[in-house]
Structures are given as C-alpha cells and as structure tokens.
C-alpha cells in the first residue's frame, strides 16, 4: 500500500506543494477578510486534526474513531484557563492543552492500546462519547450550558496560532516519520508480532504515537476555543471534528506527511462549494463524495503523484479489492 506513495514520508513533490500552500496561507490575515480568515483557519484546524489522526491511524495502523476527545479536552483547557485562572494567552493555552492531552493519552493508553482493530476503534469512540457526557454533567466545567470566552487578543492572533500549530504538526510528522519512532510505528502497523520479536517495544511506541496524535488535536482545540469564543459539549466534541479528519486523511493519502494537508484543503473546498450552491442537499452530496472517493480513489490523492502509466493504472486500480 505504501509503495506507490513514495516511502515513509510520502511523495517529496507532494510535500513541497503542501509546504508551499501552507506558506501562502500565512498571508491570509493580510486580506483583512473575516470570511476568508474563518475559512482558512478551518482548513488549518482540520489539517492539524488530520495530521494527528494520521499518526495513530495512518502510521501506526490503529484506527481511532475518537480523536475528537483530545480536541475537546484542548478546547475545554482554554475555557477553564480563562474561567477559573483568568489566563488568556493562546500560547499558554496550547502548551497546557498538550500536557493535558498527553497525560490523558498515557493513562488511558495502557488499557486501550491492548485492543486491536475494530475493538480499539470503538473503545476510542466510547471514550469520546463518555468524556463529553461526563464533562457536560460537571458544573465546574460549564455543565450543559458551556463557557463563553471573552477575546482579549486581536482576532488574527488565533489565525496565526492555528497556522503555527498546523505547520508544527507537519514538521513533527516529517521528523517522526524519518526517525526511529516512525519506522517502529510502521513496523507495528505492518506486523505487530514481528515488530515485537525484532525488539520494538510495541506498547511504549503505541502510547507515544497516541499521545502525539492527541497533542496535535488538543493544540488545535485550544486555539479553536479562543477563536470561537464559546465552548460547550456539542461544539467541542462535534462529530464533524471526529469524522472529517479520517475522511480527509484517506482522501489525501494515509501514512504520508502531505496527505492530510491535501485532504483538508480538497474536502473543505468541496464542502464550501456544495454549501454555497446547494445548501439544502449539501450533506447528501457530501455522502456521495465520500462514496465516490472510497470506490475510485481508495489510496488517496497522493497516490496520483506516483502513478507511472497515467490513466491506465488509475482505471486499472478500480475494483482491485473486489471479491
């Protein structure tokens, strides 16, 4: 599966294009356009969430259906910092959110990462749902009505913060993929028993992967809470923030550095176009897009960069997983 994607970091041309796009996105605040800023902050947020999911779901092969729990924890960290500690500084929020996420991942990682396949997936989904319900029932955490966060910084600071978080996630993914950690994670994905026999401490590496994955999502959540100015259970643990990153990573290319960024860009573009032209049936179209991507491009957009025979191998790859 990885072969066509150009090694452990993915196709270098694709990575270059992704970095160029990210560099361009740094100039969005200069447009002084609230709509553009919101839209592209969303792209950067989903790219970060996708990159986070990609570490555990893509590189390690442990498909998480509950990474939104880290996003929610990050968002609530910002809210609690503002409400109970009167601290509102995006950078501090991000750092504290990452610490919270890593602690959460390490504590829950020991029991959860023993599970494999679908069991791991649903256990993570369970953790996300349960955490949301528990938070919504604690008054100190805003209960069912949530928190309002008064913004003291200029609005564009949140855009810049999200951009920094996203770029840091891309660089972290690249460095991880090329390090011993990255090869250990891929070894676990390909064959966990074999990796263990070769001396890879699978439990340790899986927990590290989950913690890094959670740290990225939590950082995005911490910035989101400040930018949004309001946080409650349904917004912090939104189902979209759980499912979109998975779709985006697959659309871009699982287990690559640039794939999640491409996925976030393409899917947001599709979603935004559908939303503005067909508001009534835009979710229906979105469902259709997912079905078409899975059927015709199961290995993601990045795979197209490595295609040798052009259309012939694209058409030829259709139905390769048929019974």
């Amino acid at each position: 599966m990885k072969a066509g994607l150009g090694g452990i970091t993915g196709n270098p041309v694709a990575l270059g294009i992704a970095l160029a796009i990210l560099a361009l996105l740094a100039f969005v605040p200069l447009l002084h356009n609230g709509y553009e800023e919101n839209l592209f902050r969303g792209v950067l947020m989903f790219a970060t969430l996708s990159l986070g999911w990609n570490i555990i779901g893509g590189y390690t092969g442990y498909v998480s259906f509950g990474n939104v729990v880290f996003f929610g924890l990050g968002a609530y960290t910002t809210a609690v910092m503002w409400q109970h500690a009167q601290v509102q500084n995006v950078a501090i929020d991000v750092v504290v959110a990452i610490v919270v996420a890593v602690l959460f991942a390490v504590v829950l990682g020991f029991p959860i990462l023993r599970l494999k396949g679908h069991y791991f997936g649903i256990a993570t989904l369970g953790i996300a749902l349960a955490t949301e319900e528990i938070i919504e029932n604690i008054d100190w955490l805003g209960g069912g009505s949530g928190f309002t966060i008064r913004q003291v910084d200029a609005f564009w600071t949140y855009y810049v913060a999200m951009w920094c978080v996203c770029v840091a996630s891309v660089l972290a993914t690249y460095l991880i993929a090329r390090s011993k950690l990255g090869y250990a994670l891929v070894a676990i994905r390909e064959n966990e028993e074999a990796a263990a026999v070769l001396g890879v401490d699978a439990t340790k590496y899986k927990i590290i992967a989950w913690a890094i994955s959670g740290a990225m999502a939590a950082a995005a959540g911490a910035v989101y809470a400040g930018a949004n100015g309001f946080i409650d259970g349904p917004s912090a643990f939104a189902i979209d923030n759980n499912v979109f990153p998975i779709v985006m990573t697959i659309l871009g290319g699982v287990g690559t550095v640039a794939g999640p960024v491409f996925g976030a860009l393409i899917l947001t573009a599709i979603n935004e176009t559908l939303w503005s032209h067909f508001p009534q049936i835009h979710t229906l179209f979105f469902g259709a897009v997912i079905v078409l991507v899975v059927l015709f491009l199961p290995r993601g957009v990045l795979w197209l960069f490595g295609v040798r025979n052009g259309w012939r191998s694209i058409v030829g790859s259709f139905g390769q997983y048929r019974v």
């Binding site: 256990a123 749902l129 319900e133 069912g144 697959i250 048929r322 019974v323």
Partner: protein
C-alpha cells in the same frame, strides 16, 4: 425494590430490539469484516416503511415487520452486490468510510423526502398496559419483545438448517474452503448484507410504535449494536440475544440511577470493562 424490578423488566423489554439490531450488525461484521455504519440508517428506513404503510393503508406495524424485512433485504442485497463488493477486501477503514458515506446519503434522502419533523404511529392498543404485581408492563413493548425473540429464533433456524445458512457459516469459518465447495462469494456476501439490512429494517418497524420517527433516529443504534456484539461475542445468534438483553438492562439501570444524560457513558464504561477483561464477549469463542 419495586423500582429495581421495574427497571429490570423495562431493560429486558427494550433488550429484544437491541438484540435484533445487533444480530444483523454481527452477521455483516463477522462474515465480511465490515463495520456497517449505515446500520442505523436501515433501522430508520424500517421505521419509515412501517410509517408509510400505516398512514397510507392503515397497516398495523406488526404486519409491516416482514414487509420492512423484505424491502430492506432488497436494498441491502443491491448495495453489497453493486457497491460494497467492489472494495470488500480493502483494509477495514475503506468499508468503514464507505458505509459512513452511504449512511449520510440515505439519511439525507429521507430528510429530503419526508422532511425533518418528528412522526409517530398511534394504534388502538398504544398505551395499553397491565400490572404484574408491582411491575407495569406496556402491551406494545411485550409484543415487541415477543416478535424480537421470534425473529431471533427464525434467524438461528435459517442459519443452521437451510443450505444458504450453512454456506454463510462455512464462509465465516474458511472462505477459501467455502469457495472450493462451490459457494458464490459475491452473491453470498450480498445475501448476508441483505439479511443484516433486513433485520435492521424489521427492528425499525418494531420500534415505530414506541420511538419517535425522524431521519436521525437510527444513529444511537450503531453504537448499541457494536456494544452488544462485543458484549455477546461476535458472530453468534445466542451472543447477540444475551448481549442485547444485558445491554437493555444496563441502559435502563444507567438512566435510572446515574441520570438520563449519562446512560451512553454507563453503557460505554461497561463496554470498556468487557473489552479489557473478556475481549471475546460473554458468549464468545476463544479466538476473536
């Protein structure tokens, strides 16, 4: 004590539905390794089938159960034959996403046709109940449990006696050997998915009496079906039944003693404990 007993009865009565929904989910998961996220949408379609038949021709929802089964079987067969079979051998994530997309499609088509307003079915016997000592039992819920048990028994009979049922079990055990013995896998997979959808549809028709009918009504059933499968062990009819009843009771107690807001959390905590302590489920075989 009386309250405890009432919760227990309510839980068991609700558990029959969880069992039927989970049975279909378990078949599809166990045989094709597909986590069918559209399963809840099939439950919803079953409820709408009963609603349409009731409002157009005054058909009793219990009579609609086999009709909903047939309608959803046909839909499920077609979906597997022409869509899911194309990617059925891909890594698990692929089929997971595909069924998620299908669920979005189905729910939004229903939303377009019937709009989002909440619908319901009220029959002459809705609300009738009887007392059994300190416990009150609603007739519709008792009939629903009876129908659910009947469906489960029929399914067990089908899988153990008929030729197709034996082919399904053989494929679950060893697909290669089944193919060598002349099982047409593409067709058989479509039958299995059809059965899964049909069971969901039947369950949907059954709950059309006691649940409010709206396009997103099926969503909670995907999680419950998964929890039930894990509780009972994958790929066994008795496992789905026991898991369903246990799930119903746990949920009833959870909403009574912990609060209605956290009943999902209670069920999921139970799930996590089972996953960690006994990953093959209560009735599960040694190998997962």
């Amino acid at each position: 004590m009386d309250l405890l007993l009432q919760d227990l009865v309510n839980g068991v009565l609700a558990g029959g539905i969880f069992a039927v929904v989970a049975l279909g989910f378990s078949l599809v998961w166990g045989i094709m390794n597909i986590i069918n996220l559209a399963h809840g949408a099939f439950v919803m379609l079953g409820a709408y089938t009963a609603f349409v038949l009731f409002s157009a021709w005054n058909v009793d929802p219990f009579v609609s159960v086999p009709i909903a089964f047939v309608v959803l079987f046909a839909l499920g067969y077609a979906l597997q034959r022409f869509v899911l079979n194309v990617v059925v051998r891909a890594p698990i994530l692929t089929t997971f996403l595909l069924t998620f997309g299908l669920a979005l499609l189905i729910v939004n088509i229903v939303l377009l046709v019937f709009h989002g307003d909440i619908k319901g079915i009220t029959t002459s016997y809705s609300g009738a109940n009887f007392s059994l000592g300190p416990v009150t039992v609603a007739w519709t819920k008792l009939l629903t449990l009876g129908a659910a048990l009947l469906i489960t028994a029929l399914m067990q009979l089908f899988l153990s006696v008929t030729k197709t049922g034996r082919a399904i079990r053989a494929t679950a055990m060893d697909i290669g050997a089944a193919q060598l013995s002349g099982v047409r896998v593409a067709h058989l997979y479509a039958i299995v998915f059809g059965l899964g959808a049909g069971l969901a549809g039947a369950a949907g028709a059954l709950i059309s009496l006691s649940y409010s009918i709206q396009p997103s009504m099926g969503d909670p059933f995907v999680i419950s079906a998964f929890v039930v499968c894990v509780l009972g062990g994958l790929g066994s009819v008795s496992g789905a039944l026991v898991g369903g009843l246990v799930y119903g009771v746990v949920e009833a107690f959870g909403s009574q003693y912990v609060g209605t807001g956290v009943q999902d959390a209670v069920a999921l905590v139970v799930l996590l404990i089972v996953l960690i302590v006994r990953p093959t489920g209560i009735m599960g075989r040694a190998a997962a």
